[in-house]
C-alpha cells in the first residue's frame, strides 16, 4: 500500500463531510442527506488495512460530529464497527463483485445511523425521531448501495493510475526445467 490511497480516502472523507454541511439539494428532495462516510469505510475496509479503517473512522467521525449536535465521538464507533466487521470477514467476501459492494454499502448506510441513534438513546439524549426516520434510513441505505461501487471503481482506477502494478512472480524456475531431446 502506498501513501496515495490513504491520502485520497481521508481527503474524500474531509470533502464529503464538508459537502454534507453545505449542500441541501439531496436532503430537500429526498428528506435525508447523502452520507458518504459509511460507504468510504466499506471501501477502506475492502481495499486497505485495519489501521487505515480505524484512522478513517476516527477522523471521519470527529469531522462529522464537529458540525453536528451529536456528542463528540458518537459517530466514530458505528463507523469502526462496520469497518471491523467487514475486515473480519474479508476472506469470505466477494469484494470485486459489484453486487457484493452494493449489499455492503446498503448495510453500512443503514447500520451506521442506526448504531449512532442507539448510542444517542443510550446516553439519554432525545433526537428527533418518528415514522420519517424509517424513510430516512431507507434513503441512506439506498444511497450507500449506489455510492459504494462507484467509490470502489474510482479508487481502483486512481490507484492504478498513480501506482505501479504489483510485480507478479512467475512460477517458472530454470532449475526445474525439463529439457527434452538429446543431451
Amino acid at each position: 500500500m502506498t501513501w496515495t490511497q490513504p491520502t485520497l480516502l481521508l481527503l474524500t472523507a474531509f470533502l464529503g463531510v464538508w459537502a454534507e454541511t453545505q449542500f441541501l439539494l439531496f436532503r430537500n428532495v429526498l428528506g435525508a442527506p447523502l452520507h458518504i462516510l459509511p460507504s468510504l469505510v466499506v471501501v477502506t475496509a475492502l481495499q486497505s488495512s485495519t489501521r487505515m479503517t480505524a484512522l478513517l473512522s476516527v477522523l471521519g467521525g470527529l469531522w462529522f460530529d464537529s458540525f453536528s449536535d451529536n456528542p463528540l465521538g458518537v459517530t466514530i464507533l458505528p463507523l469502526f464497527a462496520v469497518g471491523i466487521g467487514i475486515r473480519s470477514f474479508e476472506a469470505l467476501l466477494l469484494r470485486d463483485l459489484p453486487y457484493a459492494q452494493v449489499l455492503l454499502g446498503t448495510a453500512a448506510g443503514v447500520l451506521v445511523p442506526l448504531l449512532t441513534l442507539a448510542i444517542l438513546l443510550t446516553l439519554g439524549l432525545n433526537p428527533a425521531l418518528g415514522w420519517a426516520t424509517y424513510w430516512q434510513l431507507a434513503v441512506m441505505g439506498a444511497s450507500g448501495g449506489l455510492i459504494t461501487p462507484l467509490l470502489v471503481h474510482v479508487f481502483v482506477r486512481v490507484d492504478r493510475a498513480l501506482n505501479y502494478p504489483a510485480m507478479v512472480e512467475s512460477s517458472f524456475r530454470p532449475d526445474r526445467e525439463i529439457k527434452r531431446g538429446r543431451l
Binding site: V17, T21, A54, D69, I84, L117, L123, A128, G130, Q136
Partner: protein, 274 residues
C-alpha cells in the same frame, strides 16, 4: 474472523470514544469548534465563489432592470422613513406612559448580521453554524432571527447554544432541545412551541402544545413569542396555525404551526443582543 490486531484496534477506538464522551460539555464544545475550524479554508472558498457568482449576476443584469429596482427601493426607503418617524413617536409615547405607571424602561434591540456557514449533517438535530462569535458580542441563549421572507417580516429562527471566538452554533425551532413560550396573536391563547410529529423529516412545521381546552383556533392565525421566560422578546413571529386537535382526553389543545422562517433557504440571520 476477529484477529488479534482487530481486538487491539477495537479496544483503542473504544477507549478513545469513551474518553471523548466523558469530556466536560464546555471542553467538548470547544474541541468541536477547534476540529471544525480545519474546514475554514473551504468555508472561505465557498464564500468567495458565492461572491464571484453574485458579482457575475449583477454584471449581467440589464441597466433598465437596475434602474427599475432602484426606483422601487427609493420608494420603499421613503415609506420606511415615514414609518420610522411614526414608530419613534410611538416609542417615545410608550416610554412616557411606562414611566408614568412605573414600569421598567424597554431597551431597543441591538442586532448583528451573521452568515450561515454550515448545517447539521445529522438528520435528527436541527442546528446551524454562523460566522459570529464572542468577539462579535454573541453570548449564549441570544435569540436569532431572519428577515428572509417575501413580506420582509422578521421571524424567529432559534437561539445560540455554543459560542466560539468567531463562530457559534444556533439551535433551530423544531429541534428537540428548543422549546419557546408562544401565544396566538388573535386569541391570546398561550402555549409552548416544540418539535412537531414530523420533525425528523420536515423542518417546516412545529407543534404549539399545552393550549387551553377553551382555545378557539383557526387556520391562518398568527403565532408569536409570548416573552415568558425572558429569553425571547415578546411579539416575534413564529408562524401560522395550520390545524389543531384536542389531546389528553380533551384537557388541552395542540396546534400544528407552519414556521414563518424557511430553514432550507436560510443564508443570513440576525443575532439579537440585549
Amino acid at each position: 474472523m476477529l484477529k488479534k490486531t482487530h481486538y487491539i484496534a477495537f479496544t483503542v477506538v473504544l477507549a478513545l470514544v469513551l474518553a471523548l464522551l466523558k469530556l466536560p460539555d464546555q471542553t467538548s464544545a470547544r474541541f468541536k469548534l477547534a476540529v471544525s475550524s480545519l474546514f475554514l479554508p473551504l468555508f472561505g472558498a465557498s464564500t468567495a465563489v458565492g461572491r464571484v457568482a453574485d458579482a457575475t449576476g449583477i454584471a449581467v443584469q440589464p441597466k433598465s432592470y437596475i434602474v427599475r429596482q432602484n426606483e422601487v427601493l427609493r420608494k420603499e426607503n421613503a415609506d420606511l422613513r415615514l414609518l420610522q418617524q411614526q414608530a419613534n413617536e410611538l416609542l417615545a409615547e410608550n416610554q412616557r406612559l411606562r414611566q408614568s405607571v412605573g414600569w421598567q424602561k424597554q431597551l431597543p434591540w441591538k442586532s448583528r448580521l451573521g452568515q450561515v456557514i454550515a448545517r447539521d449533517p445529522a438528520t435528527w438535530w436541527h442546528t446551524i453554524q454562523i460566522d459570529l462569535g464572542s468577539r462579535d458580542g454573541v453570548q449564549l441563549n441570544m435569540p436569532v432571527l431572519t428577515n428572509q421572507r417575501p413580506d420582509g417580516r422578521i421571524a424567529l429562527v432559534g437561539k445560540v447554544t455554543v459560542v466560539g471566538e468567531s463562530r457559534s452554533r444556533v439551535v433551530l425551532l423544531g429541534d428537540p432541545k428548543l422549546r419557546v413560550a408562544a401565544l396566538v396573536q388573535e386569541t391570546r391563547d398561550q402555549g409552548v412551541v416544540g418539535p412537531g410529529k414530523g420533525a425528523a423529516l420536515s423542518t417546516d412545521f412545529v407543534e404549539l402544545g399545552y393550549l387551553s381546552r377553551n382555545s378557539i383556533l383557526k387556520p391562518g392565525q398568527t403565532v408569536v413569542t409570548s416573552g415568558d421566560g425572558g429569553l425571547f422578546p415578546k411579539g416575534i413571529l413564529i408562524g401560522t396555525v395550520v390545524d389543531s386537535q384536542s389531546v389528553d382526553y380533551g384537557m388541552s389543545f395542540d396546534a400544528r404551526v407552519k414556521l414563518a422562517a424557511d430553514f432550507g433557504k436560510l443564508e443570513e440571520v440576525w443575532v439579537i443582543q440585549p
